[in-house]
Symmetry: C2
Subunit: 331 residues, 2 copies
DNA sequence: TTGAAAGCGCTAACAA
DNA sequence: TTGTTAGCGCTTTCAA
């Protein structure tokens, strides 16, 4: 500690610099003088030394799949709202759906002794997650579960309930010929959307048409599929999309075919992704509570850090059924 | 070092664990044995101790304004492409256009002795940037300059040239009644767009109409302005938008007024933001070379770290004039 | 090839 | 109130 050049002892300076002057009954004049010198010297505390000593980093790692869309931004906001007043700060990275990269990032976080890691689960990354667990670092899955890793705490959007809300909305418009376009992903809250679609139809006594339930890779172009389905004489009068990105494409594809949205076909998505609100798109959707999810994940992280002993994993499925009605279902 | 339980000296173990076994002529058998024990013990090197000793973190901080749109994601990709093979790794945070938050984040990065910081410049954050400079940590502005901080290296998109390309495209369609909608921001590469608009008009001998050059806050709703401008009998037949987000709104607003895009009004944006490609939007635009910018910033960061002594600041304006023609200018 | 030991900057226990 | 000191885990120099 360079500030000891003030002429006094290390500990005195140390107490002052870590804000414990009060407690230690150090004279205000000494305090002021030390603080002044520290400032003049451009003193910046060395977090590595501090953390090495305390054996914790006060950092919580956030691992997103990528930084596109609003998802990461909004979750981060939620995380910050919780962490703001604590000693903890978030650091962000991404795994880009790449197991090698995820491994590298988690290794880095472990080496830096991050106090907890919040990750959007990635199926191919189980080895990395297991390593985090074995290491004793609290791990939280954000936004979905991961099959085969039941012991990890999860904070996710209850997409099943949200999907029901979406389906009910279409049904309430009198539409019964509904098709579903979703992401072909194994994770539970993604699958829940197609499942909710099926169970809603069943409940209404509507027969499921296999051909009207389609799954795609994330970045798929669904236009061809839409053209295929809507070229037949017996075509749907509504489309439920598991992700807004498909919904946006669907509207364009339908209008390209000369069909009117919503008069001929009503369309609803999920997640209120950016772009859905564009007036030339106007996709109705269910808003996902991203900020609340981030906040919950952060407070759960704090709890796990506090608790120390591994308890049973909990699953928080946050309800988020806010229906946003836009042009695509506004009759 | 727990691995010393292998029964040998700390240094031997140390050499092996840091991959210097070769150099130190340590027997393969010892090496294997130590590595095996380390694995069994679940040994994870302590980065804090290592970095404390080396007095560097091998971390490069990235400070984005926010994580919306593709911008951050693509820049990060570029950064990773350069940092991949080095000892350095990026950590990300955001300042949300909030001086307090920026201060907090930079303080954290300095305390953790990040080896360099790459930031999207924020006008109200000069105090924080100055602190980074005073601290001797290399700082790089990504995407724009900041008035009053001429000594900071900059890697930015040459939006001036790109804007000319956009204007030339509209002019090549025979459109001469062009209006401009841009972001009301003081930073150079944002201003350059309006300036390029003006100089292009001048070059063509077209008189500038003050009323056709409008600046807005970032999140503005430009619909009213469009309605105002296009309700007059003498109205533009083209719109150049400094940001795609305005272009997207413009298309919606124009079509809402019963005007045809591009027949009545051609529209072009800047940046190829997500959403512009939606078929129901179809906004022509100039692609911004985000990944290249990130890569350049990262390699510049490596240079600055290497160089140690503060040299003169350089400005890299990366050319990126890729015109993407979509529906909104496809005649 | 191996062992011993200093020291990075900070915290905190202990003594005065 | 203030001073001394050990030690966090690791790198690296020096000697053996």
């Amino acid at each position: 500690m360079i500030a000891k050049e003030a002429g006094i002892a290390v500990s005195t300076t140390g107490f002052i610099l870590s804000g414990k002057a009060r407690k230690m009954k150090i004279s205000e004049s000494t305090e002021k003088r030390v603080l002044g010198i520290a400032k003049d010297l451009g003193y910046v505390p060395n977090a590595m030394a501090k953390n090495l000593r305390r054996n914790r980093s006060s950092i919580i790692g956030l691992l997103f799949n990528h930084l596109k869309h609003h998802w990461a931004d909004e979750s981060l906001r939620g995380v910050r709202s919780v962490l703001g007043d604590t000693e903890y700060a978030p650091f962000i990275s991404t795994h880009e759906f790449d197991a090698k990269l995820l491994e590298k990032e988690t290794e880095l976080m472990l080496q830096h002794r991050f106090d907890a890691i919040i990750s959007v689960p990635f199926k191919e990354g189980k080895a990395s997650y297991q390593r985090i667990i074995d290491n004793g670092t609290p791990l939280i899955f954000l936004n979905d579960t991961l099959d085969g890793m039941p012991d990890v705490d999860v904070v996710a959007w209850n997409a099943r309930e949200a999907s029901k809300t979406a389906m009910n909305h279409l049904l309430s418009l009198g539409r019964r010929k509904i098709c579903f376009l979703g992401w072909d992903d194994k994770r539970r809250m993604i699958r829940a959307r197609a499942e909710a679609y099926k169970s809603s139809l069943k409940k209404e006594g509507i027969a499921l048409r296999k051909n009207w339930l389609r799954l795609f890779p994330l970045d798929a172009d669904v236009k061809e599929t839409i053209v295929e389905i809507f070229s037949k004489k017996s075509r749907p009068n509504a489309v439920f999309c598991g992700l807004d990105i498909y919904g946006t494409q669907v509207i364009g594809a339908l209008e390209g075919m000369g069909l009117r949205v919503p008069e001929d076909v009503a369309v609803i998505g999920m997640g209120n992704q950016p772009g859905s609100e564009f007036s030339s798109v106007g996709l109705s959707t269910i808003d996902s509570p991203n900020e609340a999810l981030g906040a919950k994940a952060a407070s759960l992280a704090l709890e796990l850090i506090e608790r120390k002993t591994a308890g049973p994993a909990s699953r928080f499925l946050l309800r988020g059924d806010d229906l946003i009605v836009r042009r695509s279902t506004k009759l």
